[in-house]
Amino acid sequence: MDVHSPFMPTTETVFQKTGENTMIVNMGPQHPSTHGVLRVICELEGETIVRAKCVIGYLHTGMEKEAESQTYQKCVVMTDRMDYLNANGNNLAHALAVEKLLGVEVPRRGAYLRVILTELSRVASHCVWLGTHALDLGAMTPFFYIMQEREEVLDMFEMFSGVRMMPSWIVPGGLRGDIPEGFEVKLRAFLADFPTKLQVVEDLLVENPIWKERTQDVGVLTGKEALELGCSGPIARASGVAWDLRKSNPYSCYEEFDFEIPVGEVGDVYDRFLVRIAEMKESCRILQQAIDGLPEGPWNTTDKKVAPPERHELDNSMEAVIHHFKLWTEGYRPPVGEAYAGIEGSKGELGFYVVSDGSNRPYRWHERPSSFMNLKTLEVLAPGRLIADLIAIIGSVDIVLGEIDR
């Protein structure tokens, strides 16, 4: 019987040998260090990589196609599933893009709560990166310590949304609700505790000679190269590009917070490690300021065509009932046009490009995936390095396949 599977490796057809003494080795898509279903085909000469090619698409689920048949509110849940480690960031980018289309402003409390959620998401995402990156390079201990901290963050997500990884809490027009009772106490306790816990993990690695041996001067990328490759976020910053969208093009009240942009000098794997560690500390500073200065007031926009009315309004206002009904059956109709909103996600610039034709569903709905653009660095950095260094580089690029394949 001729059984054809589209997932059968077709290494020979897409990747031909170029040298006499080389061999082709397939890595993935089930390799543990590829963090998902990334497949890298390498041409090796001995243990040195001559050429590498990424094969992606194993997780492609056509979210952008599906979004075109969903109302804007329903698209929100798909954004979490893209970069599932930084779900709040995706929600925020999508919300900002749709709000730009609608011309809706979110009150300050809403913006502050969004900052709290996205910064927590950034910390959680970097925790996973740190744990798995160290695990890939043979350091198993940091994984256990740092995943415990991530659990604390996920517990907080569970407190307000009931969901640990995919909260879908930031929606166009504001948030699904205010933070619950007890959240502030929990967050303050986390902020008091986390820096010392992070320090423990940091101390295990920063001066560790084996760690330095494996990461220093590996995968060096210059700032100009990084930008031409479309790299942003910690990778560009590790290469000396002091650029952070939170500072350069502030959104969601980020201009009101005081924080630094950590920058690397060499642009190697070690610098990316240092930059991300420093970013976690800066995130904690932002979180502290946000929770201290959290303004009172509404967290949702007052435009009732976009944000649902509160429960008590439904009891005595016919208008509220109509708005509620229209919103959940039909949704809202942004004016014709296109909008792009980009935020500083945990892995780089994370943006949404949405085209509206005036109906209640997006005409075109596209994410600018940061991991997807960063992935290209792998093919650039791998040649000339040992195959063991490739593992270090993959870890330092911090990819999430859900976002790459969408």
Binding site: D2, I56, S69, K100, G230, E349, D357, L375
Partner: protein
């Protein structure tokens, strides 16, 4: 520091207009973003100019997006079925500009791979999902990018159905026919009902 505005016009728009004249078909301002609609053939020149001009310095290639406008009922910026929108950013001015080109079915867009290596992936993605070919960045025949290699068609085109295809199982049998499933809309064709058209049951 935002991009300087000279006589009510952004510096980048002004410079491109002076340099390329009628090849800059239209300048659109939409919700604070600037879109430069240019002739498809001159795209590499325009983007190269934006990148290399020391006063503009658009050195960061953010991405490119394809859009299929075949079901669009409103005014268009450019004639042609597909639009490819390039998103560039200048870290000198921290400003963003979008460069748009239009292309019809069967035509191709010049690739920007030689200017920005990062353009390779998003261009391949647009080619894979829309069937817009990028000259200089063609896929190996028989190889798809995001889709399985044996996939037929371009899913993000508006006429591509969202569902309703037969599912082929590994043992050679097809799955339950769509008509057999006791679902309220079984057997109904989804042809032409994607995108913003009304799809029953949704």
């Amino acid at each position: 520091m935002p991009i300087p505005v000279v006589e009510g016009e952004r510096l980048d728009v002004r410079k491109v207009r002076e340099r390329f004249g009628p090849s800059l078909v239209k300048v659109k301002e939409d919700r604070g973003e600037t879109f430069l609609c240019v002739e498809t053939g001159r795209l590499p020149e325009v983007v190269g100019f934006l990148k290399d001009d020391p006063e503009l310095d658009y050195g960061y290639f953010s991405e490119c997006v394809g859009v299929d406008y075949s079901a669009w009922k409103h005014e268009r910026d450019l004639p042609g079925r597909f639009e490819v929108v390039y998103n560039l950013m200048s870290l000198r001015h921290m400003s963003r500009v979008f460069v748009k080109v239009a292309v019809d079915d069967g035509q191709s867009v010049p690739s920007l791979k030689h200017l920005f290596l990062g353009a390779e992936y998003p261009e391949r993605e647009v080619q894979d999902l829309f069937g817009v070919v990028f000259e200089g960045n063609e896929a190996v025949p028989g190889e798809r990018f995001l889709l399985p290699d044996d996939w037929v068609g371009f899913p993000l085109r508006k006429e591509f159905p969202l569902g309703g295809e037969d599912v082929v199982f590994a043992l050679g049998t097809t799955g339950p026919a769509v008509e057999d499933v006791a679902a309220p809309h079984a057997g109904e064709s989804f042809e032409g009902k994607t995108g913003t058209e009304d799809v029953s049951g949704r």
